[in-house]
């Protein structure tokens, strides 16, 4: 049974696109067939983070409007053969997307893939509501920071009211993914800790992604962080989160950077 997941947050810049790419790649590395879909019409970036920006021919709006068929618009990842990208349009107006049109595309994706990950735009406007509209599950990306937690709470309310599942009286399964977490600062009381966030949002935790330089390095070269350096702390955290999505029981730990021999010798601090 295919699962449609929306990666959302309300607030911008918390790591939705990074997380969509990393989780999509991690699920594909785990043998699942995966489509990642960019819903950020006009400001697409999933193609860039996935390293497929030079290969975009058609996009989601072309498929919704029937200009292109779905297989023509899907871009296959160059590294993982069971990972595909459906890019957003960079030029057209987001009003070109209709509920029915997006619903048809999602249905067709369901027949082809195990997982469909919808990368939501920031905000609570039409693009964000369309991205969550057909979701079975939601990943709410949250930074340990007051404005992000507040916006996550707002998005949780929308997931419980504006989705097809909610309207049918069913529930959208929700998960919190905490990103840019710094265990040291949380321990020193400088950063909201995990328990605080989970208590406020009353939603189960999918994973904790540590703040890391590897995230920027991976986006620089256009490779999902789990593929760029599988041993890095954020890659291990995303891989653990993907295994939880697949139903495995994985102990919740915050991976830390493994210091190399030279790093230790020179007394370098981990990122």
């Amino acid at each position: 049974m295919a699962k449609v997941l929306v990666v959302t947050s309300g607030k911008g810049g918390v790591g939705k696109t990074t997380s969509t790419a990393a989780l999509g790649a991690a699920l594909a590395q785990g043998g699942q067939s995966v489509a990642v879909v960019d819903f950020d019409v006009g400001l697409r970036n999933l193609d860039l983070v996935m390293g497929a920006e030079r290969r975009v021919v058609f996009d989601l709006i072309n498929v919704v409007q029937g200009v292109a068929k779905l297989p023509q618009a899907l871009i296959r990842d160059k590294r993982l053969e069971n990972l595909w990208l459906l890019p957003a349009s960079q030029t057209r107006d987001k009003d070109a997307l209709t509920d029915e049109g997006v619903g048809r595309v999602i249905d067709e994706l369901r027949s082809r893939f195990d997982w469909i990950l919808c990368d939501s735009p920031a905000g609570i406007e039409r693009g964000a509501t369309l991205a969550m509209r057909f979701a079975d599950e939601a990943i709410i990306v949250t930074n340990p920071e007051v404005s992000s937690v507040r916006d996550s709470d707002r998005i949780i309310g929308m997931l419980d009211s504006k989705t097809v599942r909610a309207e049918r009286g069913e529930r959208v399964e929700k998960h919190i993914l905490i990103t840019r977490y710094d265990a040291g600062r949380a321990a020193r009381g400088e950063m909201l800790n995990i328990d605080d966030i989970l208590e406020i949002l009353a939603t189960p935790l999918l994973g904790i992604i540590p703040e890391s330089q590897d995230v920027l390095k991976a986006s620089n070269v256009g490779t999902p962080v789990t593929l760029n350096n599988a041993e890095s702390a954020p890659a291990r955290a995303y891989t653990d989160a993907s295994r939880r999505l697949m139903g495995e029981q994985v102990a919740m730990v915050v991976p830390v950077e493994r210091k190399g021999f030279m790093d230790r010798l020179l007394g370098r601090r981990a990122a």
């Binding site: 860039l48 390293g51 920006e53 030079r54 290969r55 975009v56 021919v57 058609f58 292109a68 068929k69 297989p71 023509q72 960079q90 030029t91 920027l216 390095k217 986006s219 620089n220 070269v221 256009g222 190399g260 030279m262 790093d263 020179l266 370098r268």
Partner: protein
């Protein structure tokens, strides 16, 4: 090898130059898009229009691949043409 050596000695590979080059290529194409029509998109549409004048195009049998490069881009249009298409067009001409 040199990369591996560098890694051994703890130097960090610089990824920023890769980011810079990727952005330069991408933005040069996207800025062109705003001012004038995208040549590759125009080519794609006109090629398909010409082909569809002669044969009935099955959208499932048409694959278009694009790779935008710094100095050269490639547009690959792969159209599956049934072997009996000549017959059909001839028949249509005769009927018309």
């Amino acid at each position: 090898m040199s990369m591996r050596l560098l890694r051994l000695f703890g130097s960090r590979e610089a990824t920023a130059p890769v980011a810079r080059e990727r952005l330069q290529i991408l933005l040069s194409h996207e800025r062109g898009l705003l001012g004038q029509s995208d040549l590759l998109v125009t080519l794609r549409e006109e090629i398909l229009a010409v082909v569809s004048k002669h044969i009935q195009l099955d959208p499932d049998k048409v694959m278009v691949k694009l790779d935008r490069g710094k100095s050269v881009s490639t547009l690959e249009v792969d159209i599956e043409v049934p072997n009996n298409f000549d017959k059909k067009t001839t028949e249509r001409r005769m009927a018309g």
